[in-house]
Amino acid sequence: MTEIALIGMASALGAGLCIGIGAVGSAIGEGLAAAAALRAIAQQPDHTATITRTLFVSMAMIESTAIYAFVISMILIFANPFWNYVIAQGAG
Protein backbone atom coordinates (compact mmCIF):
# COMPACT_ATOMS: atom_id res chain seq x y z
CA MET A 1 0.00 0.00 0.00
CA THR A 2 1.42 3.38 -0.93
CA GLU A 3 1.83 6.21 1.53
CA ILE A 4 -0.91 8.31 -0.07
CA ALA A 5 -3.46 5.51 0.02
CA LEU A 6 -2.62 4.74 3.63
CA ILE A 7 -2.95 8.36 4.73
CA GLY A 8 -6.17 8.83 2.77
CA MET A 9 -7.69 5.69 4.26
CA ALA A 10 -6.64 6.52 7.81
CA SER A 11 -7.94 10.10 7.48
CA ALA A 12 -11.34 9.07 6.18
CA LEU A 13 -11.64 6.35 8.82
CA GLY A 14 -10.48 8.70 11.54
CA ALA A 15 -12.89 11.43 10.48
CA GLY A 16 -15.83 9.03 10.49
CA LEU A 17 -14.92 7.53 13.85
CA CYS A 18 -14.26 10.98 15.31
CA ILE A 19 -17.68 12.46 14.57
CA GLY A 20 -19.47 9.14 15.02
CA ILE A 21 -18.20 8.42 18.52
CA GLY A 22 -17.89 12.10 19.45
CA ALA A 23 -21.55 12.82 18.73
CA VAL A 24 -22.79 10.01 20.98
CA GLY A 25 -21.74 11.51 24.27
CA SER A 26 -23.07 14.95 23.53
CA ALA A 27 -26.35 13.52 22.20
CA ILE A 28 -26.92 11.57 25.42
CA GLY A 29 -25.98 14.60 27.47
CA GLU A 30 -28.35 16.90 25.60
CA GLY A 31 -31.15 14.38 25.93
CA LEU A 32 -30.64 14.19 29.69
CA ALA A 33 -30.52 17.98 29.97
CA ALA A 34 -33.70 18.41 27.92
CA ALA A 35 -35.52 15.73 29.91
CA ALA A 36 -34.55 17.35 33.19
CA ALA A 37 -35.62 20.78 31.94
CA LEU A 38 -38.98 19.47 30.71
CA ARG A 39 -39.58 17.84 34.08
CA ALA A 40 -38.70 21.09 35.83
CA ILE A 41 -41.05 23.08 33.57
CA ALA A 42 -43.85 20.58 34.20
CA GLN A 43 -43.39 21.01 37.95
CA GLN A 44 -42.87 24.78 37.93
CA PRO A 45 -44.46 26.36 34.85
CA ASP A 46 -43.97 29.82 36.36
CA HIS A 47 -40.19 29.59 35.97
CA THR A 48 -40.29 28.55 32.30
CA ALA A 49 -38.29 31.59 31.11
CA THR A 50 -35.41 31.02 33.51
CA ILE A 51 -35.33 27.27 32.92
CA THR A 52 -35.37 27.69 29.15
CA ARG A 53 -32.52 30.19 29.26
CA THR A 54 -30.42 27.94 31.46
CA LEU A 55 -31.27 25.02 29.20
CA PHE A 56 -30.01 26.91 26.15
CA VAL A 57 -26.75 27.80 27.83
CA SER A 58 -26.12 24.29 29.07
CA MET A 59 -27.09 22.83 25.70
CA ALA A 60 -24.50 25.09 24.08
CA MET A 61 -21.91 23.94 26.59
CA ILE A 62 -22.73 20.27 26.04
CA GLU A 63 -22.91 20.65 22.31
CA SER A 64 -19.43 22.14 22.08
CA THR A 65 -17.80 18.72 22.54
CA ALA A 66 -19.64 17.44 19.47
CA ILE A 67 -18.63 20.61 17.63
CA TYR A 68 -14.98 19.94 18.49
CA ALA A 69 -15.30 16.44 17.05
CA PHE A 70 -16.95 17.88 13.94
CA VAL A 71 -14.19 20.45 13.47
CA ILE A 72 -11.54 17.76 13.82
CA SER A 73 -13.20 15.55 11.22
CA MET A 74 -13.60 18.56 8.90
CA ILE A 75 -9.87 19.22 9.27
CA LEU A 76 -9.11 15.55 8.54
CA ILE A 77 -11.21 15.64 5.37
CA PHE A 78 -10.72 19.10 3.90
CA ALA A 79 -7.53 20.54 5.39
CA ASN A 80 -5.51 17.47 6.27
CA PRO A 81 -1.94 18.50 7.19
CA PHE A 82 -0.50 14.98 6.68
CA TRP A 83 -2.09 14.65 3.27
CA ASN A 84 -0.83 18.09 2.24
CA TYR A 85 2.67 17.16 3.44
CA VAL A 86 2.78 13.97 1.39
CA ILE A 87 1.42 15.74 -1.69
CA ALA A 88 4.05 18.46 -1.29
CA GLN A 89 6.77 15.80 -0.91
CA GLY A 90 5.58 14.06 -4.06
CA ALA A 91 5.44 17.31 -6.02
CA GLY A 92 8.77 18.67 -4.81
Partner: protein
Protein backbone atom coordinates in the same frame (compact mmCIF):
# COMPACT_ATOMS: atom_id res chain seq x y z
CA UNK B 1 -14.79 22.93 -2.07
CA UNK B 2 -14.48 26.20 -0.17
CA UNK B 3 -15.91 25.80 3.32
CA UNK B 4 -14.54 29.04 4.75
CA UNK B 5 -15.06 32.59 3.46
CA UNK B 6 -11.35 33.13 4.22
CA UNK B 7 -10.55 31.13 1.11
CA UNK B 8 -12.27 33.47 -1.33
CA UNK B 9 -9.48 35.93 -2.09
CA UNK B 10 -10.84 38.98 -3.88
CA UNK B 11 -7.82 41.28 -3.96
CA UNK B 12 -4.20 40.37 -3.31
CA UNK B 13 -1.35 42.85 -2.99
CA UNK B 14 1.24 40.45 -1.65
CA UNK B 15 1.57 42.24 1.72
CA UNK B 16 -2.12 41.99 2.37
CA UNK B 17 -5.26 40.69 0.84
CA UNK B 18 -9.00 41.22 0.96
CA UNK B 19 -11.03 38.05 1.32
CA UNK B 20 -14.76 37.43 1.48
CA UNK B 21 -14.73 37.54 5.32
CA UNK B 22 -13.50 41.11 5.36
CA UNK B 23 -15.79 42.21 2.55
CA UNK B 24 -18.94 40.78 4.15
CA UNK B 25 -17.95 42.06 7.60
CA UNK B 26 -17.72 45.56 6.15
CA UNK B 27 -20.98 45.06 4.30
CA UNK B 28 -22.77 44.11 7.53
CA UNK B 29 -21.20 47.02 9.38
CA UNK B 30 -22.33 49.35 6.61
CA UNK B 31 -25.82 47.84 6.58
CA UNK B 32 -26.27 48.08 10.36
CA UNK B 33 -24.81 51.54 10.90
CA UNK B 34 -26.47 52.88 7.76
CA UNK B 35 -29.81 51.34 8.65
CA UNK B 36 -29.68 52.58 12.23
CA UNK B 37 -28.68 56.06 11.07
CA UNK B 38 -31.52 56.09 8.54
CA UNK B 39 -34.09 55.07 11.15
CA UNK B 40 -32.88 57.20 14.05
CA UNK B 41 -32.73 60.28 11.80
CA UNK B 42 -36.40 60.94 12.41
CA UNK B 43 -37.06 59.72 15.93
CA UNK B 44 -40.36 60.75 17.43
CA UNK B 45 -42.01 60.35 20.80
CA UNK B 46 -45.54 60.71 19.46
CA UNK B 47 -48.00 57.83 19.56
CA UNK B 48 -47.56 56.96 15.89
CA UNK B 49 -44.02 55.74 15.24
CA UNK B 50 -42.45 54.37 12.10
CA UNK B 51 -41.98 50.63 11.63
CA UNK B 52 -38.20 50.98 11.77
CA UNK B 53 -38.26 52.88 15.05
CA UNK B 54 -40.60 50.26 16.46
CA UNK B 55 -38.22 47.48 15.42
CA UNK B 56 -35.18 49.14 16.98
CA UNK B 57 -37.09 49.97 20.16
CA UNK B 58 -38.23 46.36 20.53
CA UNK B 59 -34.67 45.12 19.97
CA UNK B 60 -32.99 47.50 22.37
CA UNK B 61 -35.66 47.17 25.06
CA UNK B 62 -35.58 43.38 24.79
CA UNK B 63 -31.80 43.35 25.21
CA UNK B 64 -31.96 45.77 28.14
CA UNK B 65 -34.59 43.64 29.90
CA UNK B 66 -32.59 40.46 29.36
CA UNK B 67 -29.35 41.99 30.59
CA UNK B 68 -30.96 43.42 33.72
CA UNK B 69 -32.67 40.12 34.45
CA UNK B 70 -29.39 38.19 34.26
CA UNK B 71 -26.92 40.60 35.87
CA UNK B 72 -29.23 42.44 38.32
CA UNK B 73 -27.35 45.61 37.42
CA UNK B 74 -28.16 48.59 35.21
CA UNK B 75 -27.90 47.47 31.60
CA UNK B 76 -26.28 50.67 30.41
CA UNK B 77 -22.72 49.47 30.94
CA UNK B 78 -23.19 46.12 29.19
CA UNK B 79 -25.42 47.09 26.32
CA UNK B 80 -22.73 48.55 23.99
CA UNK B 81 -20.58 45.40 24.06
CA UNK B 82 -23.16 42.64 24.43
CA UNK B 83 -25.72 44.27 22.16
CA UNK B 84 -23.20 44.84 19.40
CA UNK B 85 -21.95 41.26 19.59
CA UNK B 86 -25.51 39.90 19.53
CA UNK B 87 -26.74 42.08 16.67
CA UNK B 88 -23.67 41.55 14.52
CA UNK B 89 -23.72 37.77 14.89
CA UNK B 90 -27.50 37.69 14.42
CA UNK B 91 -27.45 39.76 11.22
CA UNK B 92 -24.49 37.83 9.89
CA UNK B 93 -26.09 34.43 10.54
CA UNK B 94 -29.49 35.40 9.18
CA UNK B 95 -28.04 36.95 6.04
CA UNK B 96 -26.36 33.58 5.43
CA UNK B 97 -29.60 32.60 3.71
CA UNK B 98 -28.97 35.13 0.95
CA UNK B 99 -27.38 33.45 -2.07
CA UNK B 100 -23.65 34.20 -2.55
CA UNK B 101 -23.47 35.70 0.93
CA UNK B 102 -20.80 34.02 3.05
CA UNK B 103 -21.48 34.66 6.76
CA UNK B 104 -18.30 36.13 8.25
CA UNK B 105 -19.06 34.21 11.46
CA UNK B 106 -18.34 31.03 9.46
CA UNK B 107 -14.66 31.99 9.55
CA UNK B 108 -12.51 31.10 12.53
CA UNK B 109 -10.73 34.47 12.34
CA UNK B 110 -13.94 36.41 13.05
CA UNK B 111 -15.10 34.21 15.90
CA UNK B 112 -11.60 34.20 17.43
CA UNK B 113 -11.66 38.00 17.37
CA UNK B 114 -15.01 38.00 19.19
CA UNK B 115 -13.82 35.47 21.75
CA UNK B 116 -10.64 37.46 22.41
CA UNK B 117 -12.79 40.55 22.86
CA UNK B 118 -14.77 38.73 25.55
CA UNK B 119 -11.52 37.38 27.05
CA UNK B 120 -10.26 40.96 27.51
CA UNK B 121 -13.65 42.35 28.54
CA UNK B 122 -14.09 39.91 31.44
CA UNK B 123 -11.22 41.27 33.62
CA UNK B 124 -11.84 44.81 32.34
CA UNK B 125 -15.43 44.74 33.62
CA UNK B 126 -14.50 42.70 36.68
CA UNK B 127 -11.91 45.24 37.84
CA UNK B 128 -14.47 48.03 37.80
CA UNK B 129 -16.26 46.54 40.82
CA UNK B 130 -13.47 44.60 42.53
CA UNK B 131 -9.92 45.27 43.59
CA UNK B 132 -7.06 43.62 41.72
CA UNK B 133 -6.18 41.51 44.76
CA UNK B 134 -9.74 40.27 45.11
CA UNK B 135 -9.98 39.55 41.38
CA UNK B 136 -6.73 37.58 41.21
CA UNK B 137 -7.71 35.81 44.40
CA UNK B 138 -10.40 33.90 42.57
CA UNK B 139 -7.72 31.93 40.72
CA UNK B 140 -6.34 30.38 43.91
CA UNK B 141 -9.74 29.43 45.24
CA UNK B 142 -10.38 27.04 46.99
CA UNK B 143 -6.65 26.21 47.27
CA UNK B 144 -3.48 27.27 45.47
CA UNK B 145 -3.40 23.81 43.88
CA UNK B 146 -6.30 24.84 41.65
CA UNK B 147 -4.32 27.67 40.02
CA UNK B 148 -3.33 25.84 36.80
CA UNK B 149 -6.83 24.45 36.36
CA UNK B 150 -8.44 27.85 36.82
CA UNK B 151 -6.11 29.39 34.24
CA UNK B 152 -6.70 26.47 31.88
CA UNK B 153 -10.45 26.90 32.32
CA UNK B 154 -10.18 30.58 31.44
CA UNK B 155 -8.34 29.77 28.20
CA UNK B 156 -10.46 26.79 27.22
CA UNK B 157 -13.75 28.63 27.64
CA UNK B 158 -12.48 31.38 25.32
CA UNK B 159 -11.47 28.72 22.82
CA UNK B 160 -14.86 27.02 23.21
CA UNK B 161 -16.65 30.32 22.60
CA UNK B 162 -14.82 30.79 19.30
CA UNK B 163 -15.06 27.21 18.06
CA UNK B 164 -18.73 26.81 19.03
CA UNK B 165 -19.90 29.72 16.90
CA UNK B 166 -17.53 28.85 14.06
CA UNK B 167 -18.47 25.16 14.09
CA UNK B 168 -22.20 25.80 14.10
CA UNK B 169 -22.19 28.34 11.27
CA UNK B 170 -19.61 26.44 9.23
CA UNK B 171 -21.46 23.14 9.68
CA UNK B 172 -24.70 24.55 8.24
CA UNK B 173 -22.76 25.79 5.20
CA UNK B 174 -21.04 22.43 4.74
CA UNK B 175 -24.27 20.49 5.22
CA UNK B 176 -25.92 22.70 2.60
CA UNK B 177 -23.15 21.95 0.10
CA UNK B 178 -23.16 18.21 0.81
CA UNK B 179 -26.96 17.94 0.56
CA UNK B 180 -26.91 19.81 -2.75
CA UNK B 181 -24.77 16.99 -4.11
CA UNK B 182 -27.00 14.21 -2.75
CA UNK B 183 -30.60 15.49 -2.89
CA UNK B 184 -30.66 18.78 -4.77
CA UNK B 185 -34.45 19.30 -4.88
CA UNK B 186 -36.11 19.84 -1.53
CA UNK B 187 -34.05 18.72 1.47
CA UNK B 188 -31.49 21.60 1.37
CA UNK B 189 -34.35 24.07 1.92
CA UNK B 190 -35.30 22.37 5.18
CA UNK B 191 -31.70 22.34 6.32
CA UNK B 192 -31.44 26.04 5.46
CA UNK B 193 -34.47 26.72 7.66
CA UNK B 194 -32.80 24.72 10.41
CA UNK B 195 -29.64 26.75 9.83
CA UNK B 196 -31.67 29.93 10.37
CA UNK B 197 -32.85 28.62 13.74
CA UNK B 198 -29.32 27.55 14.71
CA UNK B 199 -27.95 30.92 13.67
CA UNK B 200 -30.36 32.87 15.84
CA UNK B 201 -29.83 30.56 18.83
CA UNK B 202 -26.06 30.75 18.46
CA UNK B 203 -26.16 34.56 18.37
CA UNK B 204 -28.24 34.48 21.55
CA UNK B 205 -25.96 31.96 23.22
CA UNK B 206 -22.78 33.84 22.35
CA UNK B 207 -24.12 37.07 23.80
CA UNK B 208 -25.56 35.28 26.82
CA UNK B 209 -22.33 33.42 27.62
CA UNK B 210 -20.29 36.61 27.25
CA UNK B 211 -22.71 38.34 29.60
CA UNK B 212 -22.64 35.49 32.12
CA UNK B 213 -18.82 35.46 32.13
CA UNK B 214 -18.67 39.23 32.61
CA UNK B 215 -21.37 39.22 35.28
CA UNK B 216 -19.66 36.42 37.23
CA UNK B 217 -16.36 38.31 37.06
CA UNK B 218 -18.07 41.36 38.59
CA UNK B 219 -19.48 39.46 41.54
CA UNK B 220 -17.62 40.35 44.71
CA UNK B 221 -16.34 37.15 46.26
CA UNK B 222 -16.81 36.71 49.96
CA UNK B 223 -14.36 35.10 52.31
CA UNK B 224 -10.62 35.20 52.89
CA UNK B 225 -8.21 34.60 50.05
Amino acid sequence: MKYSPDLYILLDWGWGQINATLLFTWLIMLLMTGGSWWITRRLTSSTTISAGQNLLEVLVQGMVDHIEEITHRPAKRFLPLIGTLFLFILVSNVLGLVPFFQPPTGSLSTTCAFALLVFVAVPAYGLTTRTLKNYLGQYIRPTILMLPFNILGEISRTFALAVRLYGNVMSSTVIGIVLLLITPIFVPVIMQALGLLTGVIQAYIFALLALVYIASAMEEEKGEV
